[in-house]
Symmetry: D2
């Protein structure tokens, strides 16, 4: 399987708050995350916005099974022709993972057809991710809920199409919620939005999020995802835990 | 339009923590909620578990456009034949509102086909309800988010079928989330699950929840719902509010 | 309610096979169809591709509740800025009906996010439309199935997003099938694809299709649709009718 | 992987029109179909209605990864307790394939929550199956469309819940249509309805249908399905084939 990681690679170069977590770029940590296990036969390639054709000549896309896309502040400078190229490859069968702020990118809006605008944002919140499709392969091997100590809130309504599959919901320490892992089919391709990934926190260094990324990458390539699903619901008694008040270590 | 409100009417009789909020039964307050405006032509009938045939002879159901169902502790004593009768009327076109703990009832399980088990519960949490289908008629005229000062947490995964329409998500003060307003078509009938409604809090006395019940009742009868939808998403700036920390009055 | 009918208005001017059915343009017959009953308070405006700004200055769109869009051969000449303008108004809440070949238009592709390509086409087939969401308002008052004596086949797979609601399936005399009435929410707006409408047949002069258009227009504006739903399924006996072999009059 | 094939095994014993095709029972041919390739590690067990506990003691179900269910005339005699047992195992994660007339069985109605009634039926029609989710694993390696020379028509509306995934549509020679392969999640289990399988025709001896059954069995067990997906849509020219008029050999 050939995976291409695309990064706008800007904030890591100019903001200390970002480079402290990702001194070699978010893409480098994403590449590590994909390769740390189950990696037999997985080839990872990096493409950066600054590269010619943003690193995505047709030949690279033709040879890509799954594309991860991280972007934020420089999205307006992405060439429309490359956006079309990506969208066409998704239609042909390439998987696409839309990471965090890339939900607002031209690529996401082109593929999903909506504005992808959310309702407010705020840095620094703790996040809890709860599976609502507990047998979905993307959840395999993950604790429940997944706790992210510090990330970024995006609020609902988020203007995305109704997901084909809604996999995770997130609650934020401030009380907001988000459909945080969602999937759509576009032509022969699978698209996954994965909300966690704020650049001022080391979210992609967290083992659970790395596992989530590996699961989603494999699922987007229609490969089996090892590991057990989230246990089924049980209502046998009162649940005393207060996730926020007691901290997210539960 | 003819509405029938069904109530097991047990806890109001034996627990002070319930009767203090609903001295004449939850059904009485639900009836008030439905009739307080837009009520021209709305006929409300009460059916209690203690009544012959649980208050639901075939003639009553045949004459019911929308049935509201509140149940909790005595569900095992509901007659299977009445459950079948309700399910058949839904198939024929009767609307059904499944209220709070009734998600675990025989009626809900029969109509939805799943166990309807959730993952834990806890009394006393504040709740925030966020619209994810902001143009859905059920949201008309409601503030965003809807804040419930004190209710009961039900956790995900909740074992319900994938909703045809997911309308609201709830976050609880403890950090959990729930798909809290969801709809399904069953035959010619419309089914709505509405999560708020814990019996030890005066949830059904709250104007926003009463409006939500009226909206859902009208929608389940395929009647237009007056009022404006939730405003569309906007991302114009950072969102400083901390709903929990600052309280739910926002 | 203000409805705007958009037409590329080209084939009616140059092909006898089209002008014979629509001598004053498809838009004129669509306007008649919308106004022939239930028309109290319905204002219909025409916008043509040849008009300045394609007849769709921002002021017209701002004043449009539902936009019907018919296009085919000249779609490449539609201005991208107007396409964006339409898409944004849908997001804000305007309804959009995508008619027949307009499924391949820039507007449809922009709003839906996919190529909207189908698998083959053929003129002249008889069509039968079968409701699969029998309680949906778009089906109200319509016979079942709806028979179109002569239209145009579009084959599956048709590359559209999974519909939020699938309302009708069509079978063609040649044996193909199509998801022929489907809906999506986009922001606060409702989008409906309606497959029948081939320009070389008088499809929009047929009473059932005119009723279907009126129903969909009202539904896209979130207005109630009068009339009874499709009767519920019944399996009481063998069904001897052969729709094709016996002709579509059944 | 352990697969259990359940059969009511009645018509094969009493009707010549059935026994001529399935002299050793439909279950025997289904078992052959599952094992003819990709069968490494696949264990198939048979359970018949006539067996004690219908062949489904808890221990057998606990050891079953995917259950195929074929039933028709004797469904009323299936023990309600066994139906509950099956439904609970699906919730826990067992896959379930509902075959042909079993869509009307107690098991299907219990798991899906609807009447599962269709609109008419007729023996002897040719069928064409068209993929509408062309990248779905269940379609892998199959021709498009799949032609079944002689089967049984079931008409829409069919009273099933809105599928989580709609994979195939069928058209019948008589002009009707059916959502013929559809999936739902129920708890941790995957449910698939597969319409072809009329007992008076050798449908389960047809290679394409056998492949379809193997694909669905693997998918229901969350195993990868080998083979290429249906080619993407293409609209490059007119499509002259008339599937029915020219016969289904295309």
């Amino acid at each position: 399987m050939n995976v291409t990681i695309w990064n706008e690679y800007y904030e890591e170069l100019v903001y200390l708050s970002v480079s402290v977590h990702y001194p070699d770029g978010i893409h480098t940590v994403l590449a590590e995350a994909l390769q740390e296990d189950d990696s037999a036969g997985l080839e990872v390639r990096i493409a950066l916005q600054q590269d010619p054709e943003h690193g995505l000549p047709q030949s690279v896309l033709d040879d890509t099974d799954v594309l991860l896309w991280w972007s934020h502040l420089k999205d307006d400078e992405v060439d429309d022709e490359i956006v079309e190229r990506v969208a066409r490859r998704v239609e042909e069968g390439m998987g696409l993972l839309i990471l965090h702020s890339a939900i607002g990118s031209k690529v996401a809006r082109r593929v999903l057809g909506t504005t992808c605008r959310g309702t407010g944002w705020r840095h620094g919140d703790a996040e809890l991710m709860w599976a609502v499709a507990p047998s979905h392969p993307i959840t395999h091997g993950l604790p429940h809920p997944i706790a992210v100590p510090e990330g970024e809130m995006y609020g609902e309504p988020l203007d995305i199409p109704v997901p084909d599959e809604l996999v995770y919901l997130t609650s934020y320490a401030g009380g907001e919620v988000l459909r945080s892992v969602a999937t759509w089919r576009r032509g022969a391709g699978r698209v996954v939005f994965i909300a966690p990934g704020h650049e001022e926190s080391p979210v992609y260094r967290q083992p659970e999020i790395r596992r989530l990324l590996r699961n989603a990458t494999r699922w987007a390539a229609d490969l089996p995802v090892p590991g057990a699903p989230v246990p089924p619901p049980r209502r046998e008694g009162e649940w005393p835990m207060h996730w926020w008040k007691g901290g997210v270590t539960a």
